[in-house]
């Protein structure tokens, strides 16, 4: 993105310091990252993002389409992305469920795209206006087959903006769908934010093939494990299919070797980079004997609680996962080697809890602390749970 584009975005937003909602910040982050295509279907508590995009995208030369549903929304952003435009959709649980099939397709054809899931209370239509963290496992396993996903979870409005930019960067780098797993509380929460200055933040642009069209093999990485698939309409011929395909893109559906090679590469391009992708916030851990492991909005209650417990002399630490997927197993393993006890507060009946338990081994006690129904944990809930 050049400075002119940046200035156009800031001008469209209006000012650089705002008191804004999480839902607005996802849109601002997307525009600052260079997103110029949005397709979506309105759903509480995510609609405000679509509203902002519908208003601002045309002013920066982008396109907003309100689709007939979330299946089509996902299809539209994959199509736009393959034509070379950074694309995003925003939804909540019910829509995220509908998107799963096309998410698998995006993984298979390696289409970079960003999906923001402003989680609400489910299953089904559940409690539309109430926040939850119930889609954490769906984000990882919602589509069929073996694949890897990258998912980040913000806990403030400023971070919502920054992580949305990061989602775009990672989706372009790894040519994979990237999820911002946020929730109705952060989505509707307002806080003071500052848009980053030009040059103050990184933007990854998509790598173009270096081989000439005649030598181009779309699904054969030129280096590493991420191929440089050409955007449609720039002189290269690319055949894309959700079927298992050879490096040239053509289907080969009865060869175990080809399938194994393809799907292993799709998974390893992300899983092998887990350390690089891992972002966590660690506080009060040096001498901690117990720790709270949390993510998203729940961390705001957890940190408040940990500070109170510290003021009472309790050796309690705080680990916040910013990267949820790929799961930062090594971080948890070393935490498990240090502390005697881990508490995992989640706004679900225990989802990431299982991953934490699996990572830390048997010597550390891991307890979950669930809250569902749309009410977030109070600091007191966490203090009580750590007392026992």
């Amino acid at each position: 993105m050049d400075p002119d584009q940046y200035n156009r975005v800031v001008k469209a937003i209006g000012k650089r310091e705002l008191f804004a909602q999480g839902d607005e910040a996802y849109a601002y982050g997307a525009l600052l990252a260079g997103c110029r295509f949005f397709a979506g279907y309105p759903i509480t508590p995510a609609t405000e993002t679509a509203e902002v995009m519908s208003e601002l995208l045309p002013r920066v030369g982008g396109t907003h389409i309100q689709m007939e549903d979330e299946i089509a929304s996902m299809g539209a952003i994959i199509g736009a992305s393959l034509a070379g435009v950074k694309s995003m959709t925003v939804t909540s649980g019910p829509g995220f469920s509908l998107m799963q099939e096309n998410i698998g397709y995006a993984c298979m054809v390696e289409a970079p795209c960003v999906v923001v899931d402003v989680q609400r209370s489910g299953p089904s239509t559940g409690q539309p206006t109430e926040p939850s963290q119930g889609d954490i496992m769906q984000a990882r396993w919602g589509s069929h087959g073996d694949y890897e996903i990258i998912a980040l979870a913000p806990n403030s409005v400023q971070e919502s903006l920054e992580l949305t930019i990061e989602c775009f960067n990672l989706s372009e780098k790894y040519r994979n769908p990237v999820f911002l797993m946020t929730d109705g509380e952060v989505g509707h929460m307002r806080e003071g934010i500052i848009l980053p200055d030009y040059g103050e933040y990184e933007i990854n642009e998509r790598e173009k093939p270096q081989r000439r069209p005649q030598e181009y093999v779309p699904f054969l990485p030129e280096e590493g494990k991420v191929p440089r698939i050409a955007n449609f309409g720039c002189g290269y011929h690319t055949y894309l299919t959700g079927l298992t395909h050879k490096p040239d893109g053509l289907p080969a559906t009865d060869d175990a070797g080809i399938h194994t090679q393809l799907v292993t590469r799709l998974c390893e391009k992300i899983s092998e980079d887990t350390d690089k992708l891992t972002k966590v916030e660690e506080l009060y851990l040096d001498d901690a004997e117990a720790a709270v492991v949390c993510y998203g909005i729940t961390s705001r209650a957890a940190l408040y609680a940990v500070k109170i417990l510290r003021s009472r002399g309790k050796k309690v630490g705080y680990l916040r996962l910013i990267t949820i997927w790929p799961f930062p197993e090594m971080v948890l393993r070393s935490l498990g080697a240090q502390v005697k006890r881990i508490l995992v507060p989640e706004m679900n009946l225990g989802q990431l809890f299982h991953k934490v338990k699996e990572a830390v081994g048997h010597d550390t006690e891991v307890n979950k602390l669930s809250r569902i129904g749309g009410v977030m944990h109070s600091p007191q809930d966490i203090i009580e749970a750590l007392k026992n």
């Binding site: 008191f19 509480t44 539309p128 307002r190 806080e191 003071g192 705001r300």
Partner: protein
């Protein structure tokens, strides 16, 4: 210091907008602010509330723990949130909508005053004037500037008038 404000009533009273304006004004005063909201699926009539935290420092927990200030604009809201007010905290009610019995509260007829101005929906601006004047939780200037900036253009004058009447009502009653 962390100041916790809860405004509760029903959808259509401008509860969420009032919270947004308070938060925005606090930021203008150079403070940290977080505003959260909660409402039902219906746009009018269901229970609605807005919570605003104001502090000089970074705000960790974004929700009210024990309200320093409760503004109750419906009986249901008063009954539900009265117990969650800090001892010695301030309670403000619309006196025509809430019966607070023997409770020590600040009260004003926000809705009736707005009605007299010809627009019932500016009751939230009357309330903001009264709230700012009675609690001094943010500066009256910042609040006024934010109302001017945030309400629909054709309603700026009546909102500011409503705001001033809220301030004036507090002064008279004091």
């Amino acid at each position: 210091m962390r100041t916790e404000i809860r405004i509760a009533g029903f959808g259509g009273q401008g509860v969420v907008l009032a919270g947004l304006l308070l938060g925005e004004a606090a930021i203008r005063d150079g403070k940290q602010a977080v505003q959260t909201q909660s409402y039902g699926p219906e746009s009018r009539g269901g229970a609605a509330r807005s919570e605003i935290l104001i502090s000089d420092e970074k705000i960790d927990y974004p929700k009210v723990i024990e309200a320093d200030i409760l503004v109750a604009l419906s009986q249901e809201a008063f009954d539900k949130f009265r117990p969650a007010v800090r001892k010695g905290g301030t309670i403000i009610i619309d006196r025509d909508l809430v019966n607070a019995e023997a409770d020590k509260v600040h009260s004003a007829p926000f809705t009736k005053m707005a009605d007299n101005l010809g627009k019932k929906v500016v009751a939230n601006s009357v309330m903001l004037g009264y709230l700012v004047a009675s609690t001094e939780v943010i500066s009256a200037e910042s609040m006024q500037a934010v109302i001017r900036e945030k309400v629909p253009k054709h309603t700026i004058d009546i909102n500011l008038q409503a705001y001033d009447e809220g301030i004036e009502f507090w002064r008279q009653e004091k």
